[in-house]
Subunit: 110 residues, 2 copies
DNA sequence: TTCGGTACCCACACTTTTGTCAGTAGGAGT
DNA sequence: ACTCCTACTGACAAAAGTGTGGGTACCGAA
């Protein structure tokens, strides 16, 4: 949130995909296409409703995801990746592969 | 730090490169080769000594960086990427490029 | 004897992030 | 009338992250 300019591209990228969850949300939306709130919640195990909403709001504000409201009862809201979000997702792919490859080693760290 | 298994590779990767700094440290070490503590501090603008040390300790424990002590006075300690750290750095490259490409858009977000 | 330079460590306080547990709207089904 | 369903919202507190200002050790130089 500091108004200064980022020191490099990686810095900027890390800022937009913030904490622990945004990457996973991006990943889920990329893999499974548009998802409604409840589906997304199930797609990202361990996240609380509150966290999911907060993250989605930020990602919407960043232009990473699109929020489509269907005026129904009970309510239905669908989240999907924008072009921007999709491009981030692509850039994130190698990182995901790296994680897969070194999964055992990473799990042994704590 | 939770002992459960990660839900995907991206999850695992995000865990090892933790917060805001580890990616930048990795990047600096990758670009400028082995660096001593003070040099690293200058290479990552805005980080405090305390943070740098904490992050380096964690990264050492994760096997991402190697710490080489030279028994001199005044002290000299050099940090460098391990193979493991280097591979993460490579996987991080596309993310850095993405950030560069969309820098303006990202800066306009807050 | 005092000072400079390097790489740290420690205690404390503050800020940000994350979790928990309630509660709301409003039409449909019973 | 009452309950169910979904997507939220809000208050509160615990946990994690981060900054600040000090201190330590060591040896050589002045």
């Amino acid at each position: 949130m500091t108004k200064r300019t980022y020191i490099c591209g990686l810095d900027a990228a890390i800022t937009v995909m913030g904490g622990k969850w945004k990457g996973l949300i991006l990943f889920s939306l990329g893999e499974e296409g548009p998802l409604r709130f409840g589906e997304l919640r199930r797609a990202v195990p361990g996240i609380s409703e509150r966290m999911l909403i907060l993250q989605l709001r930020e990602m919407e504000a960043s232009g990473l995801v699109h929020r489509e409201v269907y005026h129904q009862v009970p309510p239905k809201v669908e989240y999907s990746l924008t072009e921007f979000g999709s491009s981030l997702n692509t850039a994130l792919a190698p990182l995901g592969e790296w994680g897969e490859e070194h999964m055992e080693r990473i799990e042994a760290i704590p």
